[in-house]
Amino acid sequence: MSKIAIIDSGGANIASLVFAFERLGRSAELTTDAAVIRSADRVLLPGVGAAKNAMDRLADAQLIDVIRGLKQPVLGICLGMQLLLEGSEEENVECLGVVPGIAARLPSTPACPVPNMGWCATRKTSDHALLNDIPDDSYFYYLHSYALPVSDCTLATANHAKPFSAVIGRDNFVAAQFHPERSSTAGAQLLSNFLDDSL
């Protein structure tokens, strides 16, 4: 069975991702060990909190170039998605740069407060194996203040005052702005797809 590594980016919600794989009958190893990450069949980069803090932690663990050099499928989640980009407007931090784009602050309007916390209908804009068997306009759970505007890497969008990238992909790097581990059956399907050989 393929090996799943979850990069320990210091975010506090990582336990729930491990549990989500347990519910799929799979075990995932939480690690900052470069050798374990390089040899895994699937790598996840989760994260919550501030982008700069997370990048500092990856730098301290000497994982920046390790992640940039990965060839197997890598899934960024929430802040982990933003870390895959070139940078974030949040404290103008430079990120990993494996997917083009800069995370921008979400617009705050009376109807759409920031942070965006809650379930948002999510629409596919492109066919990708990561989104197989997920009905269009499925709801996923979001918790964020920054997001990637819609770009040519966008695979699915959601709305917060205006559309933003909900799921992105470039080469072996894919990412979701929402939390699949907390998005009920639709989220479980996405995690299951990520493990599928077709990816």
Binding site: A12, N13, A15, S16, F19, A20, E22, R23, V48, G49, A50, S108, P110, A111, P113, V114, P115, M117, G118, W119, A121, Y139, Y141, L143, H144, S145, H179, E181, R182, S183, S184, T185, G187, A188
Partner: protein
């Protein structure tokens, strides 16, 4: 055990934590909040092993409230798998804690619970509401506190309207609408839900981001799928 009272008094046991968590998750609840209502009044913290057990079975977000008095307490709860922490009495005792938590974990997981009661035409914050013998007025106006917690980094506010709690007469629309006007972060209505139309009213008239209820779900008086069908039919954007 899960308990429920009426206007924060006379609590009775309504079921086991995991059993209810799994039931609500299967029925389509969008989020669960676990309140340890005795944690602050007794000056003790929760036994938190249950948080991990809940995190294992739930595939929807959940928030833990009660007994979180420090960054270390919060870290423990979040590391055990909770998605958010909610603080109430400890934030009133030490408002700087809100800023510390937001800086360390991000505003998105810092929820401030506010117990508010209408008195003489104004709204006031109450503290230590888990124990009727220890509940005190916090000497703060609700609107002032709502403004301050946002400035300090709160990512969400749950407003428990005490006059309405557990009596099933409907949410306190007037108070929630007044708070909504000064609240730029997600606002969750709590206290008073007794019928499906109460939920519709609070979304339509107070423009809240979420509606929290306990009694009507614990008793199965309002099945969650029925409620969601009803809200969706009435143009409320809701996951089904």
């Amino acid at each position: 055990m899960v308990v429920k009272g009426v206007q924060f008094r006379n609590h009775r046991v309504v079921g086991g934590i995991l059993e209810l968590a799994e039931r609500y998750c299967a029925e389509g609840a969008d989020e669960l909040v676990f309140y340890d209502i005795t944690a602050s009044p007794d000056d003790r913290s929760v036994d938190r092993s249950w948080v991990t057990q809940v995190a294992r079975v739930l595939d929807i977000p959940f928030c833990v409230a009660g007994g979180i008095r420090s960054v270390a307490d919060a870290e423990d709860v979040l590391n055990k798998g909770a998605d958010k922490i909610s603080i109430n009495s400890p934030a009133l005792a030490k408002p700087a804690l809100i800023t510390e938590l937001a800086k360390r974990f991000g505003s998105q997981c810092v929820v401030i619970g506010i117990d508010s009661r209408e008195e003489h035409g104004n709204y006031f914050v109450y503290q230590y509401t888990g124990d009727p013998g220890k509940t005190i007025a916090a000497q703060r106006l609700t609107m002032d506190w709502v403004t301050e917690v946002q400035q300090r980094g709160a990512g969400e506010i749950v407003l428990n309207c005490m006059n309405q709690d557990g009596v099933r007469k409907g949410y306190d629309i007037e108070q929630l609408a007044a708070v909504r006007a000064v609240c730029n972060v997600p606002l969750i209505a709590s206290g008073g839900a007794g019928a499906k139309d109460h939920f519709l009213q609070v979304f339509e008239q107070a423009n809240v981001d979420g509606a929290l209820a306990a009694s009507v779900f614990h008793s199965a008086e309002i099945p969650i799928p029925d409620l969601k069908d009803y809200l969706a039919k009435n143009q409320v954007d809701i996951r089904r």
